[in-house]
């Protein structure tokens, strides 16, 4: 018995907070929906939040851990939604419906999105920073245009694809189960040797290559996994809505996902989950609260909050205020921890805490400054 207690105490709980949190939410709401006490609006909200969380975690792999800026995540989601919706439609024609149809659609949608993730990952091998960002944005627009101009029989054309719907009461359970799958893949990937390789590429690509990391392979791997989960989110979207219209997946949507990742903290999965929840909740609530003439105020408030939060979180001048008054410092004070050692784990590598020689702004921009070193074998070759 005592051995069991020791074992229990030694579990690194931090590693499981995400699973426990999501499972608790899932459990509570499953009980509530079985008791039939959840209104439609809450179910809708839960579905939206679940989809946002999957998107935020999956984009977090590319932006937070691989360090590449992607503005086309909605494109992968669009592919997942259309392909998944179409698969479900074809399956219902041959009589397969319900959970099996959903699972098959998820597999097909995720695989198709993964293939496109591979295709988008290819230019990522040659391009950096903003150049890659515009390519992903371009990809998203191309996908959108292609689906918009499809024929009515294939993908519904500009009116969108009508999709079979899943039982409204239980769809969120499936979405949250997929969040758990997504979490299991991401967290274990990040902690594995492959994940270390991916973060090493983020911190310093040249050094990573020099230590024998196969940069090509790992960059593609990150893009493929990220795209596959965006595809899963897309399939969920197609089951949650009666029609899938390509116009919903414009670059504004990609940017909304990026905002979730950045506000959650780069390379921080828990942060991504929290910010996805808060942002989606705010979005839905503001939409329902502000109706009629006030509806236009929603975007205004949202934009204002966004700018203020980003400035508060990042302005160098506010560093002192930030360190003094943040959630982490408060919780540390409650649990009487020393705040400087308690959270410095390596897999939550923040940009500013990871010791690198190339500064992050140089990595993300194209103009990496050429630093003249004393020993420069190529010096004669230049100008």
């Amino acid at each position: 018995m005592s051995a069991f207690i020791v074992k229990f105490k030694n579990i690194k709980w931090k590693r499981y907070t995400n699973y426990i949190g999501i499972s608790l939410v899932l459990l509570v709401f499953t009980v509530l929906t079985l008791a039939d006490s959840l209104p439609q609006s809450t179910l809708f909200l839960l579905e939206k939040i679940g989809i946002s969380i999957i998107l935020s975690i999956s984009l977090g792999l590319v932006v937070g851990f691989l360090g590449e800026l992607s503005l086309g995540h909605a494109g992968f989601m669009c592919i997942g939604a259309y392909i998944g919706g179409k698969t479900a439609e074809l399956l219902s024609d041959v009589g397969v419906e319900g959970i099996f149809a959903l699972l098959i659609s998820v597999v097909v949608g995720a695989l198709t999105a993964a293939v496109f993730g591979f295709i988008v990952g290819l230019p990522a091998l040659r391009l950096k920073g903003d150049y890659l960002a515009i390519v992903t944005l371009a990809f998203c627009e191309i996908v959108k245009t292609a689906f918009e101009n499809s024929s009515k029989e294939s993908f519904g054309g500009p009116m969108g694809l009508r999709t079979p719907r899943f039982d409204k009461h239980y769809l969120f359970i499936i979405i949250f189960s997929f969040i758990l799958v997504c979490l299991a893949v991401m967290q274990n990937l990040i902690r594995s040797k492959h994940g270390r390789a991916i973060t090493a590429i983020r911190d310093n690509e040249i050094a990573a290559r020099a230590t024998g990391i196969n940069v090509t392979k790992y960059k593609l791997l990150a893009f493929i996994i990220s795209a596959a989960f965006a595809g899963v989110a897309g399939v969920m979207y197609s089951f949650a809505n009666s029609t899938v219209a390509a116009s919903a997946f414009d670059y504004n949507y990609s940017i909304e996902i990026l905002v979730m990742v950045v506000l959650g903290g780069m390379g921080n999965i828990t942060g991504g989950i929290i910010s996805a929840t808060v942002i989606t909740f705010l979005n839905v609530k503001l939409t329902t609260m502000l109706t009629g003439d006030n509806a236009v105020l929603k975007d205004l408030v949202y934009a204002l909050i966004l700018v203020l939060i980003v400035i508060y979180n990042n302005a160098p001048a506010l560093k002192y205020v930030r360190e003094r008054y943040n959630i982490r410092a408060l919780t540390d004070k409650i649990f009487k921890k020393r705040s400087d050692v308690s959270y410095d784990t390596d897999d939550e590598g923040k940009w500013d805490r990871v010791p690198t020689k190339i500064k992050m702004d140089e990595l993300l921009s194209v103009d990496v400054v050429v630093r003249e070193s004393v020993i420069d074998p190529d010096k004669e070759g230049k100008e």
């Binding site: 236009v296 700018v307 702004d361």
Partner: protein, 297 residues
């Protein structure tokens, strides 16, 4: 003849893109940030023209009222660009570029929703004096296209001369080359960044005018698509390079007009433009005129 007309229209549209792209590229070169709110400055310029042209149209002669509206639009946009930089971007100088990018996105959506609050989301018609068109044999070119073309050429010449010959312009080049070294040489960084935003935003106001002359309707998302296209143009030409932005803009405009003139390709115009971007970047990762800098650990 059809070909020549499409070409002229394309170059004229490309001129508009180039003007917007210049704003992106200059801000990128000097402040090292992607100003996603740039497209919405065009929209603000368009609405200023809409308001001032409507109020002064009956009382003043048409040409004077148009010039007055354009002047006001340029002033408003310049002030807006200056203000946005000071309020939203300056506090983040030195922070991670992604934070600045998100702020720019926030500013963009703020400006759009502000326009929606004031003017509603429906498209508004903008009254312009009828300029007529010029006939050269079989070729009929509208004066608005010609004005766009000529103005683009003048603006680009002026900008090139400004950057090459004046002290401020050379300081801008120096800052884009190496900000810290420029500072040590006595260049006032804050002033240069402000000037960059003011020039970029004034060009956006002009671009707004010329877009309105082509299609005289304005709505809050008026600047989004031209903004994205111009950003694409700036990247095609090599972001940070002024001649690159001009080249990329004109290339994109010509492609767009030719693609739109073929009925089967017309729905796919946007996709074609973005595909060209991807192909060019795969062949030449820093854009056509972008400088390749070597990278070291």
């Amino acid at each position: 003849m059809e070909f020549l007309l499409t070409l002229i229209n394309g170059v004229s549209l490309g001129g508009i893109y180039a003007m917007i792209a210049l704003g992106y590229t200059m801000v990128y070169g000097i402040a090292k940030m992607l100003n996603f709110a740039h497209g919405d400055i065009i929209m603000v310029g368009g609405y200023s023209i809409f308001v001032f042209a409507a109020t002064s149209f009956g009382t003043l002669p048409p040409w004077v009222s148009l010039l007055f509206a354009v002047l006001m639009a340029v002033i408003i946009c310049a002030l807006l660009g200056f203000g946005v930089e000071k309020l939203a971007y300056k506090p983040l100088r030195g922070a991670s570029p992604l934070a600045v990018l998100i702020t720019a996105i926030g500013v963009s959506s703020f400006l759009q929703s502000l326009a929606q609050v004031f003017f509603g989301s429906a498209a508004k018609f903008v009254q312009f004096p009828d300029l007529g068109s010029l006939s050269l044999g079989e070729l009929t070119v509208s004066y608005s296209t010609l004005i766009t073309l000529i103005s683009t050429v003048i603006v680009m010449l002026a900008l090139t001369l400004f950057v090459k010959l004046t002290k401020t312009g050379r300081a801008m080049l120096a800052v884009s080359e190496d900000r810290e070294a420029a500072q040590l040489m006595g260049v006032n960084i804050n002033f240069i960044i402000s000037i960059t935003f003011i020039i970029g935003s004034s060009l956006a106001a002009l671009a707004g005018l010329f877009s309105l002359m082509n299609v005289p309707f304005i709505k809050p998302t008026f600047g989004s698509l031209p903004g994205i296209k111009a950003f694409t143009a700036a990247v095609i030409g090599g972001i940070g390079s002024i001649p690159g932005a001009m080249l990329g803009g004109i290339l994109l405009g010509v492609v767009e007009c030719f693609s739109n003139s073929v009925p089967t390709l017309a729905p796919y115009t946007n996709a074609i433009e973005f595909a060209i971007l991807i192909i060019i970047l795969i062949v030449k990762p820093t854009g056509i005129l972008g400088k390749k800098r070597r990278e070291k650990v």
